[in-house]
Amino acid sequence: MSENLSALSFRKSADKNLFERMVEAAEKTGTAAAPETARALGEESLFGDAITLGAVSFYDFLKKENEGKKVFVCNGSACLTAGTQDKLHDALGRSFKHEEIGHICCLGRCHQGGAFQHEGRNFSGQSDAALGELFSGGTGDSEDRYEVVSHLQPAQLTAPFPGVEKYFTPFRDLLKKDRDWLAGELKDSGLRGRGGAGFPLHFKWAGCRASEGKVKYIVCNADEGDPGAYIDKYLMEQRPHSVLLGMMVAGWFAGAEVGILYIRAEYPDSIRIVDAAIAELRAAGLLGKNILGSGFNFELKTIKGAGAYICGEETALLASIEGQRPEVRVRPPFPTVEGLYRKPTILNNVETFSNIHAVLTLGGKGYAKIGTAQSTGPKLLSLDSHFAKPGIYEVAMGTPLADVVALAGGFRTKVKAIQVGGPLGGIVPVGKIGELTVDFESFKKAGFLLGHAGVVSIPESFPMIEYIQHLFQFTADESCGKCFPCRLGSTRGAELVAKARSDSSYQIDRTLIGDLLDTMELTSLCALGGGVPLPIKNALQHFEEELRPFLSSAPEKR
């Protein structure tokens, strides 16, 4: 169905993007869902009215309900378990009307809690006095401060930035080399995607390179929606050149001339800093036509998201850029064959692209010496405010998880479990931390998921049943609604748990919730509906005793 729409969207190309126009339209009034706005946008792109309205009504920051909102309180997992948001809500209520306070899911201030967005700027951990000053016309302090620690010698992803000239030396050298050489290095490196799935990068890149087509795209998934993860945010704001270099290499390798970073609206600083870095590279002659006389043309641009977790799923992200409803599409065809505007596309996560510099400088084999045989290279983790020293930690794949906890000085509160890898990652009881190493295999074997490796702590004082409800509710809120099991199962799961929490005479039938989770896991179209059963099953298994009052004791077989 989207074939024709992709073609129509392609007519306007990435320069005058329909989705960007939607986001722009919403900036004035808070919504792009007014019929006249939707129609005007649709007419420009020859999209039908219903298609455009369908798209704008999807996004948190474009839909009708967003109109008139002035401040957005983070409702992500880390702020939830930090216990800061009720107090923050009360404090904001002194300066704003109830209907002016909206929600936003994870600003990447998980290391501090108390996060909110105001006039396009993010804040966290503000005292009442600071809030008062901010809302009475002050500028406030929106600076983001957290630990950045590398356990690697020398540091790779967190290494100090030596300036454009020096950092891009491997790129300049590459332009003189042969693409087959790079293919070999990528294969030797064993680099796997860092977005969560761990797909071997050289397969993806070689697939796009081999795809027929004059027009190809490089897309960076900078929609780091996992509550608790701020790894990509760190890279974009403090090491923006690393991700841009990775995209440029991908463009050169696959024969693409345009690279797009889809950055979530929750990260305004990332957009600003990446835009500045792009301008810097253009000024240095590293972007544009015939770069350094190599015949390679490449341009980069950022596109700002509009508040939809599902846009982190690659096919939804591509549909979003095209101005369509960001619904997950069946694969195959994979984006390497039919991606943005149905053209061959390499789509990787920020951290994945950031690893390319290390592959070039260390060589494929040198890179593969970091980490384990199957999970190579460095990995960043982001730790939340329950750690003594929250921040970004760089370790070699295969490093014991306990070492990471120790590096961060342990927990500052009593924690019973950590959820690693976002809302779809496993819930690891603290007692099991010692069994895990930071790599895809170790987590999978133990029944968890490394994912993107954002870490959210669940303190002992936080009821596990509430966390389960939060996970179901998050999925229900963020499900694109396209596939039946995710749309229906998440909502019903949230309702079951809410009922069990509010009605002491009601217990959830164990078989029923087991079947619900199995159906979601087995039949969902993408990793959202298919993934959320994992942490909930972890919780049911490892926190059986705590959850017993909410579950019927007599399991019956249907």
Binding site: M1, A476, F484, P485, R487, S490, L512, L522
Partner: protein, 559 residues
């Protein structure tokens, strides 16, 4: 035979379905391959004529590919067939084509669990208002729940409230609570009707089907969305609350509103037609039908239907009417007669008309009334007569239908033509005025409803509507197709071919035609296109008999 002339064969692939190895042409969808292997796979969003979004997750099967040795050779089992490495999760069968060595399991415990689970979810928000739902009896939610589900949902909590009775357009009502968001209607409007008027708005469990504000679903193909809606979310305003579908008698026949000859099913009960729906014929209309065509049946039950033969306005019996008509015809010379046939007549009627023409020796004094409009690029042909091809083939008109009608007008006005026979056409639409008609000695008219000509008819013979008779027609592409009787003609109205047979007999003596099959046989003897065929051999889907495409008449816009 030289290999050069052989059509390139579609390569076949070997696929194992439920343990049995079968061959399918490359490019066959897995869900279709299973169907061909008599393993029906339940589905909601999948429709063979639309793209596959893969959203309902009902058509899940277990799938696997051959196990490979390290040097990429399939591992063979004890039976010499490839061993299959099964994918640990069920896969949807609607979005993938068969591949060499693929294995499919359509009824394994994992597949059954997956389907049961999805069905149970679907019933969560469904209002379960089957007793008042028009879809009941042809509802996939009902059917699959019984066949593949557990027939109920254990989730008995509150249902999500959504709007009911939403008027999407003049002919369609949406019940959003019944809607399962399969998106077939959206895809149909976009992909087939080329009218992007429907879409999904909102997100997640708030998703609903909507028409854009200020737009309505009034496309001439809108009712196809009701046909393909697997549940009772979209209902036809014309049909809803009128009749339970299980009471309907279904008659396979063809549409006569234009030269396409779309294949249809007439749903009737106790001699009343309640609805017309498209019938699949991929050589004609696929599975679609324009609204204008499917709703054009009410006139059949019009209370003004002609039900008794009349002579000069006085009711007579059939024998008298036929005898008087024959007397009138015999009282005139051949030059004084003219016959207006119709592109709406069946081949059998046209053939008997040609016999009547022979008997009256009016070799060139006849024609049909052309009807043209604009082709819509989809199913509506510019030729609005359903059987112009048959009329040309049997010789009732020249290659330019209607080109002789001006001779009729001249002849009537000059007084040379004294008597006109019209077989279902209003002569005032052939260029004659009421005054012209008054000049004539006699008009012999066969029709089903009064028109501008019938008051002037000397002999008026009540005939049958297209839903009341059997026979055949040839569409604009030369395909011979069959009409079948859904309801009986009212009163004393006769089948048209019988009226013609009796008239010929009265004019020129007995012709030995007792049943319509005899007519077809005689027609086949005269026209080689029908050779070797019979009404039963035409079959439900018809067959091509005129290979060269008959050029469509030019639209009448120039007039």
């Amino acid at each position: 035979m030289s290999t050069e002339t052989a059509a390139p064969a579609v390569p076949m692939v070997n696929v194992q379905i439920d343990g049995v190895w079968l061959q399918f042409p490359k490019g066959t969808r897995v869900i279709e391959a299973c169907g061909q292997a008599q393993k029906f796979i339940p589905r909601y969003c999948y429709h063979p004529k639309l793209s596959s979004p893969g959203n309902c997750r009902m058509c899940m099967v277990e799938m696997g590919m051959p196990k490979m040795t390290p040097d990429r050779k399939p591992v063979l089992g004890a039976d010499g067939k490839p061993e299959i490495a099964w994918i640990p999760r069920p896969q949807i069968s609607c979005a993938q084509d068969v591949a060499e060595g693929m294995g499919i399991r359509t009824g394994s415990p994992m597949v059954e669990e997956a389907r049961k689970g999805v069905l149970e979810f679907l019933l969560i928000n469904h209002p379960l208002d089957c007793p008042i739902c028009d879809q009941a009896g042809e509802c996939r939610l009902q059917e699959f729940s019984v066949e593949f589900g557990q027939g109920e949902s254990r989730f008995l909590d509150e249902k999500v409230k959504k709007p009911k009775n939403v008027e999407l357009g003049p002919r369609i009502t949406l019940d959003a609570e019944r809607c399962i968001l399969c998106t077939r209607c959206i895809r149909f409007m976009k992909e087939v009707a080329n009218d992007d008027v429907l879409g999904i708005v909102e997100r997640g469990s708030f998703n609903s089907i909507a028409c854009h504000p200020d737009r309505i679903l009034d496309n001439n193909y809108s009712l196809n969305t009701v046909d393909i809606c697997p549940v009772g979310a979209l209902t036809s305003n014309d049909f809803r609350f009128k009749m339970r579908v299980w009471f309907l008698k279904e008659t396979k026949t063809i549409d006569v509103n234009c030269g396409t000859g779309a294949n249809i099913i007439i749903g009737s009960r106790e001699n009343t037609i309640y609805r017309i729906t498209p019938r699949e014929n991929n050589d004609v209309n696929g599975v679609w039908l324009p609204d204008s065509h499917r709703l054009n049946f009410k006139y059949v039950a019009d209370e003004r239907r002609l039900t008794k033969p009349t002579v000069k306005g006085q009711p007579v019996d059939w024998r008298t009417a036929t005898a008087i008509a024959a007397e009138i015809l015999k009282a005139h010379t051949a030059e004084q007669l003219w016959l207006v046939a119709s592109g709406r007549q069946t081949n059998e009627e046209l053939f008997l008309t040609s016999r009547l023409i022979d008997a009256l020796e009016i070799e060139k004094q006849h024609d049909i009334l052309p009807r043209t409009g604009e082709a819509d690029g989809l199913l509506i042909a510019a030729d609005r007569n359903p059987n112009t091809t048959g009329a040309k083939l049997i010789g009732l008109c020249t290659s330019k239908p209607g080109s002789r009608l001006k001779k009729l007008v001249e002849g009537v006005r000059s007084g040379a033509i004294k008597t006109v026979i019209t077989l279902g056409e209003d002569l005032t639409k052939c260029g004659l005025t009421a005054d012209d008609l008054k000049k004539l000695d006699a008009i012999i008219a066969l029709d089903i409803l009064p028109n501008q000509t019938t008051p002037h008819a000397t002999v008026l013979l009540p005939a049958s509507a297209w839903v009341e008779k059997r026979g055949s027609m040839i569409n604009v592409k030369g395909r011979l197709q069959r009409l079948n009787r859904a309801v009986a003609a009212p009163g004393e109205a006769h089948d048209d071919w019988e009226i013609l047979r009796d008239l010929i007999a009265a004019v020129s003596g007995s012709n030995g035609l007792a049943v319509i099959e005899d007519v077809f046989k005689a027609m086949a003897a005269d026209h080689s296109e029908f050779a070797g065929l019979s009404l039963s051999k035409i079959g439900d889907l018809g067959l091509p008999v005129v290979t060269e495409k008959t050029p469509e008449p030019e639209p009448a816009a120039a007039n």
